[in-house]
C-alpha cells in the first residue's frame, strides 16, 4: 500500500548507517509543532491531551500546541508559522486532510518532517509518516459483530447513530458498516447523525427511538456522544436491543463491564495516535531509528487496529 | 390638487382636500394638529400614494409615484421630521439622492463648493460643509434640510413647520430666503402653527380641518386671525396665556439651583423657583438652555454646583433621585427623548409612574389606564382612546401626552423644554391653561421656549441665556420682547 517505495528505500539506506539505540534515551533538543482540530468533542480533546502529555514526558522535546481549530485556513497558517519558526518536526491532525495537503508539502519541501495523524493527506509527498486509525475497519468490525449476533434474523432492525456527517471519517465508518451488514443480508434501517457531542447524541437518539419503535441493534460511532445516547435510551426506557459503541472511552468500558446496560461492546479507536505521532516526530527530528522494529527505520504508514472489545 | 383622499389603516387622514398653488406665491397651510397637513404634502411629494383624488401640475394631470418623480417635476420638500442622515456630512446630506457624480464616483469638491455656497446664501457660512450632521444642533439640521430643498431646481418648495426648531433670529433668516424664492417665481407652501409668521410671510391661506378643506385660498390681508382660528378649530379660541401669572404662593423656594455648571456648555447659574411660580429661560438656539434643564434633572452630570428641592440636595447625575423628589421633565425632542412610539398612549403616560400603580412588582393596568384616561380627557387628547398606539397621534397630541405623564406622576417641580413646539393654537391655549392651573396648585415650573412672547406671557420671571451665560434675570413685567432680543443678540455675538 506504499507507492513511494523508492523514497522509503533511500531513507532506509540513510538510516541503516546509524545504529538503532533505545528510543527513550534523551537525544538532541528538538521543537515539535502540533496542530489539530478544535477540541469540540472528547476524542479530539483526548488526542490533544495525549500529545501534550507525551511532549511533557520527553525532556528533549519542546512541543508547541497551536489552538485547535476547525477552520482549515487557520490551520494552514499554523503550519506556515511552524515552517517560519523552523521547527524540527510537525505533527498534524488535519481538520480536512485534502485541504492541508499543500501546506504539508511545503513543510516537507522545507525539510521539516511531517507526521500525519488520523485523517490522511491526499498526497503521499505531504507526510514523512502517517498514523491512521482504521475508520472503515471500525465500521466493518461493528457490522460484523452485529451480523454474528443477529445472524439468523434477516428482518432485524439495525440503527446507526453517526457522528458529524460531513467528515470523511464518518463516511468511512458508515461505508464499512454498510458493507459488513450487506455481507449478511442486512441493512441500516434508521440512521441519524449527531455531532460527536453528548448533547447531540442525546437529541438525535431521542428522536431516533421515537421513529423506530422496535430496534434490534444500534451502532453508535462515538462513545463520547454515547453518554448522551445512553441517557436518551434510559430516558425512553427502552432495552429491547443491544448497542455497540465506537472509539472506546473509559465511561463506556465501565458500562460494558457492569453488564446491566444495553451496551455490549465497543469498537476501539485509539486516542493515542497523536501521542505516537509526537514520539515518531521526535525520532524523525533527532534522525533516529525505531529500536523496536526489525526494520528499524520509522515506517511510512502505520494503521492502528480497531478491534471490538466486549464485556 | 383636487379631492385628495388618503386612508391609513385605522385612520382617515385626508377626506377630500383641495389645494391650489400659484407660481410666485407663499401659500400657507393651516390646521390643527392631526388635521392632515403633513399627509397632504407627503401626497404631493410622492412619499404617500393618495387613496383618491387627482393632482394637476401646470394644468396637466399627473401621478407622483415616488419622491424622485416629485423632484423631477420640480417639487422639493422639507419634511417635518428632520429628514437628515446623522452619519453623513452636511454636503452629502444636501446632495443625498441626487449626488453630483459621474459613473457613481462622487465629485466631492464640487459638492462641497455648492454646499458652501448654499449655506452662505442661507446665512450660515459657519456650518462646515464637511461636518457630520449628527453633530449639529437641531436648528443646524433644519438649515441642512433647507439647503437640500434649495439644491434642487424646484418650482415648488414645501416647508413643513420649518420654524419649529428655530429661534426668532433664525426665523428672520428663513423669511429672507422665502421672500427671495418667491421673488424668483418659485411657489412656496409654508406650514406653521405660529399665526404671526403666517401674517408676515404668507400670501394666501388654505385651512384644513379634520382632513377636509375648511377654506381655501384666503388672502392673508383679508382674513383676521380670529377668523382663521375659528376655521381651524371650529370655535373661537382666545389665544392668551391662561390669564395673569399666579405668582409665588410662598416665599420658601421649592427648587434651588446653586452654582450649577456644565463644563464647556454653560457657566455657573444660580436661581430658585418658588411654589406657584413660573420661571422662563429665554435665549437663542444653542444657548444651552436645554442643558441647564437636563443638568438640573440629573440627565447630565453637573461639573459644579448643586440642586435642592424643598431644601433637600439632589444626587448629582441621578434622574431617579430627581424623580423621587417629584421633579419632572418634558424633554425637547418628543420622539427621541420622550415617547415609546410603538406602545399604547396610556403606557406612555404612565411611563414614570407605572411602578406606583403596581403592587410588589405586579402591574395594575386597569388603574394605569383609568388614570391615563382621566388626564387624556382633561387635556382633550384626540383621539382619547388611550389604548391606541401613540405613534398615530399628531405632534400636538403627543406633546399633551408628555405633560399628562407628569400630571399622573404628580410633580412639584416641572421642567418644560419647548412645551408648545409644533403644537396648534387650540392645544397651545390648553397647555397654557394647564401650566396656570399647576402653578395655582403650588407647582414650581421652569420652562424653556424659543418664542420670547411665550416666555414673557407665561412666566413670572425670566432668565435670559446667551452662549452659556445668564445675562439677565428679572421679572417679566419689567422687560419687553425687544429688550430680551437685544440682550440675547448681545450675548450671542458679543
Amino acid at each position: 500500500n506504499d507507492p513511494e517505495a523508492v523514497e522509503t528505500e533511500d531513507d532506509a539506506a540513510a538510516a541503516a548507517a546509524e545504529p538503532a539505540g533505545d528510543n527513550a534515551e534523551p537525544g538532541d533538543d528538538v521543537v515539535i509543532g502540533f496542530s489539530g482540530p478544535a477540541a469540540g468533542h472528547g476524542w479530539i480533546g483526548a488526542i490533544t491531551e495525549g500529545a501534550q502529555n507525551q511532549g511533557d514526558e520527553f525532556d528533549d522535546v519542546e512541543l508547541r500546541v497551536s489552538e485547535g481549530t476547525d477552520d482549515v485556513n487557520q490551520q494552514i497558517s499554523q503550519i506556515e508559522q511552524f515552517i517560519n519558526d523552523d521547527v524540527d518536526a510537525i505533527v498534524v491532525l488535519p481538520f480536512d486532510g485534502a485541504a492541508l495537503t499543500e501546506v504539508a508539502i511545503e513543510a516537507m519541501n522545507a525539510g521539516i518532517p511531517v507526521v500525519n495523524v488520523d485523517r490522511e493527506f491526499s498526497s503521499p509527498f505531504a507526510a514523512r509518516t502517517t498514523i491512521l486509525g482504521d475508520n472503515y475497519g471500525m465500521g466493518v468490525s461493528a457490522g460484523t459483530y452485529i451480523c454474528e449476533q443477529l445472524g439468523d434474523q434477516d428482518d432485524a432492525v439495525v440503527a446507526e447513530i453517526a457522528g458529524i456527517d460531513s467528515l470523511p471519517l464518518t463516511q468511512d465508518r458508515s461505508q464499512g458498516f454498510e458493507d459488513a451488514l450487506s455481507d449478511c443480508g442486512m441493512e441500516v434501517e434508521n440512521r441519524v447523525a449527531a455531532d460527536f457531542t453528548v448533547a447531540g447524541g442525546e437529541s438525535a437518539t431521542a428522536n431516533l427511538l421515537q421513529a423506530a419503535p422496535e430496534i434490534d441493534a444500534i451502532w453508535n460511532h462515538d462513545d463520547e456522544q454515547g453518554v448522551g445516547v445512553l441517557a436518551a435510551i434510559e430516558n425512553a426506557g427502552r432495552d429491547e436491543f443491544f448497542m455497540i459503541g465506537g472509539a472506546g472511552s473509559a465511561n463506556m468500558m465501565r458500562e460494558i463491564e457492569s453488564g446491566d446496560s444495553v451496551v455490549e461492546a465497543t469498537v476501539v479507536y485509539p486516542a493515542s495516535q497523536a501521542a505516537d505521532g509526537v514520539r515518531l516526530a521526535r525520532l524523525l527530528a533527532q534522525e533516529r531509528a525505531m529500536s523496536d522494529l526489525v526494520e528499524s527505520d520509522v515506517p511510512r504508514e502505520i494503521q492502528l487496529y480497531a478491534p471490538v472489545v466486549m464485556g | 390638487m383636487r379631492g385628495i383622499i388618503k386612508h391609513f389603516p385605522g385612520a382617515k387622514a385626508l377626506d377630500g382636500v383641495d389645494l391650489d398653488i400659484r407660481a410666485g406665491e407663499v401659500h400657507c397651510l393651516l390646521g390643527q394638529n392631526g388635521a392632515g397637513k403633513s399627509t397632504l404634502i407627503k401626497v404631493l411629494s410622492g412619499a404617500h400614494q393618495p387613496t383618491g383624488g387627482e393632482i394637476l401640475w401646470k394644468g396637466e394631470q399627473v401621478t407622483i409615484p415616488t419622491t424622485m418623480a416629485a423632484l423631477r417635476l420640480g417639487i422639493a420638500t422639507m419634511y417635518q421630521e428632520l429628514d437628515v442622515v446623522d452619519g453623513l456630512t452636511v454636503a452629502e446630506n444636501v446632495f443625498l439622492g441626487h449626488e453630483l457624480s459621474s459613473g457613481g464616483v462622487l465629485h466631492r469638491a464640487t459638492a462641497l463648493e455648492r454646499t458652501r455656497d448654499l449655506l452662505r446664501r442661507l446665512g450660515h457660512p459657519e456650518i462646515p460643509a464637511q461636518r457630520e450632521v449628527g453633530r449639529l444642533p437641531a436648528a443646524g439640521k433644519q438649515i441642512v434640510s433647507m439647503a437640500r430643498a434649495l439644491s434642487h431646481e424646484a418650482q415648488l418648495i414645501i416647508m413643513d413647520e420649518p420654524s419649529a426648531v428655530l429661534d426668532p433670529e433664525e426665523v428672520e433668516n428663513l423669511f429672507r430666503v422665502v421672500r427671495a424664492l418667491r421673488d424668483q417665481g418659485v411657489a412656496v407652501v409654508y406650514i406653521s402653527h405660529r399665526l404671526e409668521e403666517i401674517r408676515r410671510i404668507g400670501d394666501r391661506i388654505t385651512v384644513l380641518k379634520d382632513g377636509r378643506t375648511a377654506a381655501t385660498s384666503l388672502a392673508v390681508q383679508d382674513t383676521p386671525t380670529r377668523e382663521l382660528i375659528a376655521l381651524m378649530t371650529g370655535h373661537e379660541v382666545i389665544s392668551d396665556f391662561g390669564g395673569a401669572a399666579v405668582g409665588p404662593i410662598s416665599d420658601q423656594p421649592l427648587l434651588e439651583v446653586d452654582g450649577l455648571s456644565l463644563e464647556g456648555i454653560f457657566e455657573p447659574v444660580s436661581f430658585d423657583v418658588r411654589p406657584g411660580e413660573v420661571v422662563g429661560l429665554a435665549g437663542l438656539v444653542g444657548a444651552g438652555r436645554s442643558e441647564i434643564l437636563e443638568t438640573i434633572y440629573g440627565a447630565r452630570r453637573a461639573t459644579t454646583g448643586e440642586v435642592r428641592v424643598k431644601g433637600k440636595k439632589l444626587r448629582r447625575g441621578s434622574i431617579a433621585d430627581a424623580v423621587n423628589h417629584d421633579v419632572g421633565l418634558a424633554p425637547e425632542e418628543r420622539k427621541s427623548q420622550g415617547l415609546l412610539l410603538d406602545e399604547p398612549i396610556y403606557r406612555n403616560i404612565t411611563l414614570s409612574s407605572f411602578a406606583r400603580f403596581a403592587r410588589s412588582g405586579l402591574l395594575n393596568e386597569r388603574a394605569e389606564r383609568s388614570a391615563a384616561r382621566e388626564q387624556a380627557e382633561a387635556l382633550h387628547l384626540s383621539p382619547a382612546d388611550v389604548a391606541r398606539n401613540i405613534r398615530t397621534l399628531s405632534g400636538g397630541n403627543q406633546q399633551k401626552a408628555m405633560l399628562a405623564r407628569w400630571l399622573v406622576h404628580g410633580c412639584e417641580v416641572l421642567l418644560l423644554d419647548e412645551p408648545t413646539r409644533g403644537v396648534d393654537v387650540g392645544a397651545r391655549a390648553e397647555i397654557y391653561g394647564l401650566v396656570r392651573e399647576l402653578s395655582r396648585r403650588g407647582t414650581a415650573v421652569l420652562m424653556v421656549s424659543s418664542e420670547i412672547e411665550e416666555v414673557l406671557g407665561l412666566a413670572d420671571r425670566v432668565l435670559v441665556v446667551a452662549d452659556g451665560h445668564v445675562v439677565h434675570t428679572g421679572a417679566t413685567k419689567d422687560i419687553d420682547e425687544h429688550q430680551v432680543l437685544d440682550l440675547v443678540m448681545e450675548g450671542a455675538h458679543g
Binding site: 477540541a39 469540540g40 448533547a199 421513529a211 | 392668551d240 415617547l339 415609546l340 400630571l407 394647564l434
Partner: protein, 355 residues
Amino acid sequence: MSEATATGSVPGADIPAQEELPHRDLSPVEEKAPKKVAGSNLSLGHSLGLVLALGALVALGVITGGDRFLSLANLMVILQQAAVIGVISIGVTFVITSGGIDLSVGSVMGLATVWATTLGTQAMATDIHWSIMFFTALAVGAAAGLLNGVIIAYGRVVPFIATLAMLVAARGFAELISGRQTQIITVQGFTSTFRGDLLGIPIIVWMFLIVALAGWFLLNRTTFGRRTIAVGGNPEAARLAGIKVKRHLVMIYTLAGLCAGIGAVMMLSRTTSGSSTHGYLYELDAIAAVVVGGTLLAGGRGTIFGTVLGVLVFAVLRNVFVQNNLDSSVQAVVTGAIIVGAVLLQQRFSSHSRT
C-alpha cells in the same frame, strides 16, 4: 390677552373640566382598524402565522408518521427536546426585547454544567446533596450573566461584543475546569430527581412550562417587564422618565444567565453529564427561535408565546425529519426554506407590519 378662558384642567382640582370645548374627532375609522386584543403579547393574531406553520408541520408529521407521531411518548420527546433550548430562549427573549443580544448563553450553560459536575463529582466526592449541584448551576449562570450586564451597562460595550467575549471565554474556562473531559454525574439524587415524571409528564417539561409561564408573567404583568419593553423601545425616554436603565440592563442579562443556569440543570439531567461542549451554538438556535417567534431584534417588542412557538417549530421539524429518515444535507436545505416560509406566513397573518 387678559380674560382667562382656562381650558386644560387638572383632575382632582376643583375646577371642572370645561365642557363647551367641542372635542375634535379624529378617532380611527373603526371598520378599518384591525381588532386588537389588549396586551398585544397575548394575542393569537400576532402569532397566527406561526401557529399555522406549526400546524402544517404537525400535519406533515401525521401524514408521514401516523399514530406514532401523535403518540404521547413522541409528544414528550418533542417537548423534552424543546425544553432546554426553550428555557434559554425565554431568557434571550428578555435580552432581545431590551434591544440587546446575548451570544453567550450556550457557553455559559456549558460552563454551568461543568462547574456543577466538578463540584458533584470531584471536589466533595459523591455524597453531597443534589440541591447543591442545582444551585451551583444556577449561580454560575447568573454570575456570568451579571458580568455580561455590568460590562454592557457600565462598561458601555455593545452587547454583541461583550457577550461574544463571554462566549469565547466561558467555553475556554469550562475546558480548563473539566480538562476537556465529559464528567458523568455521580450524585445519585440529582438524576433521579430530575429524570422523573409528574402526572405522566417529565420533570424537564414541567420546568420548561413553569419558566415559560413565569417569563410570560414577568414580561407582561410586572414592572420589570414593562421596564424591559421601555428600555428596548426608547432607552433615552426610559432614562428621562426615571427608569434606572443601567441597573435594569444588568438585571436582564443576569436573568438570561439564570435561564442558562436552569438550562444547564436540565441538560445535566438529560445527558447525565457535564461537558464544555454542552450548549455549543445554542445561542444561534435560541436567537433564531426568539426572532422567528416575532420578538423584534431592534427591541421594544417581545413575545414569550411567540418564542415558545418558535422553539416548538424547530423541535417538531427535527422530529419529523428523523421520522422520515431524511438525509442531513437535505434537512438543512429544507430547514432553510421552512424558516423563510414560516416568517413570511407569520408576516402575512400578523396584525403588525414591520418595515
